[in-house]
Amino acid sequence: MRSLAQAFSVAKKDLAIELRTKESLNAAGAFAVVILLLFSFAFDPDANATRELGGGLLWLVFAFAGALVFNRSFARELPNECLDTLLSSAISGASLLLGKALANLALLIAVELVSIVVFGIFYNVRWWLRPFELAAVCVLATWGIAIVGAVFGALTVNLRLRELMLPVIIYPLLIPLLIAAIEITNALFSNQPLSAYELLWGRVLAVFDIVFTVLAMALAETILVN
């Protein structure tokens, strides 16, 4: 319980700072909207093309926007040596990573909400037809992206080229998660009932989340101190 309370304190602190500075939200939100706009002008997609490409476009935009969020996640701990202060305090590495991932999740979900509305307008997609399934896919897939982003944000925080290194490292890892999210999202945009094929991808999402969350918690101390 104490560890969870510490994680929520870290997430709350990060979100409070972000709401004041809006560094990640402005960058990630603007990036997502601009990419969606540019693609809509570049391809002028019809209904079929949107159904086939919509999920892929959205999740790639979310993944790229995520990198902008993750780069700031641990970087905001560097001024005044706040990261050292946290690491020498009573908080466990697992709580710190969990808190960071929760804040990443909240920020990415905010970016996704804006992006999906923009996507609906410019691509003429009725995304609200299956809201609960879409919300479930978004939360499951975004948690996977957020926890991977938190881990590698911590690993790359002291690198000079962290803005470059972080995406290079995390995108290959996110491939199974992105494929799963894209497949299910495409089916939802087609407004068809989810088949066994999509449900299998749903399981992939769940397993990805569990495996990476457990790994992150188990290796948190090593990741943060070394």
Binding site: V10, K13, T21, P79, N80, E81, C82, D84, A90
Partner: protein, 236 residues
């Protein structure tokens, strides 16, 4: 006296460079140890190892008999490094409230408010730290370090760049901490200030412990004495 800190044959390398070499040092509970030494001697490295921030390659490090990375040990440690360790975009109150929550204190808001009053920042509790003067930041950093009444205080150059008010406040806080039995380890170049409050001294040169023992009256009279007697540069 039981030992608060035990270092046995400690070696720390940065690449091939040995920052600490075969260092053995014991610090008794309730004592105040001044870590002395020139720039690059290894004082900061030693403090970072004790705070659980830096891994070491060889030797044994125990804080109250525990690994410095253990949560139980860290809960008893207050660390003030070169940075003030507070967030610029949060207010003073939010900063202290956050660190009080992290420390698991039962009434974090009340503790934060009491410390803001104590360090003279209650009036500006809701102001973002980025708008603070240097002196105000330093006092906030002191409040953050002492907030959870740690049993071990690790202070890296605590007197450096402090204004008069902050120096007086730090001296008062250190005296109080000693009175309640806390163990103090502080690295410093301000030998006079450090020796005035230290019960013990440890002199480090090039990562090696050159001298350790009680602080004597002779050291107070002649702060450079230790360097002259126990370091190669001093002897030269």
């Amino acid at each position: 006296m039981p030992r608060a800190i035990e270092l046995e044959q400690l070696w720390k390398f940065y690449g091939d460079y040995a920052a600490l070499r075969d260092l053995t040092l014991h610090i008794a509970e309730g004592s105040c140890c001044a870590l002395l030494g020139r720039n690059g001697a290894g004082k900061t490295t030693l403090l970072r190892i004790l705070a659980g921030l830096s891994p070491y390659q060889r030797g044994v490090v125990r804080v109250f008999g525990l690994s410095p990375r253990s949560e139980k040990a860290r809960r008893q440690v207050g660390f003030l490094g070169h940075g003030i360790g507070v967030y610029e975009d949060l207010s003073a109150g939010e900063n202290l409230n956050f660190f009080a929550r992290i420390a698991g204190l039962p009434a974090p808001r009340a503790v934060a408010a009491a410390w803001l009053e104590r360090v003279g920042l209650a009036r500006v509790a809701s102001m973002p730290v980025r708008q603070f003067s240097r002196g105000m930041r330093q006092r906030l950093a002191l409040a953050r370090t002492f907030l959870h009444s740690p049993n071990i205080l690790l202070l890296d150059e605590p007197f450096t760049a402090l204004d008069d008010r902050a120096i007086a406040m730090l001296s008062e806080l250190l005296t109080e901490a000693r009175a309640r039995g806390a163990t103090l380890v502080l690295s410093t170049h301000q030998i006079r200030e450090a020796l005035a409050i230290a019960s013990h001294v440890a002199l480090i040169e090039n990562g090696r412990l050159r001298y350790t023992g009680e602080r004597t009256a002779e050291m107070l009279d002649d702060p450079a004495l230790l360097y002259r007697l126990h370091t190669e540069l001093g002897a030269a």
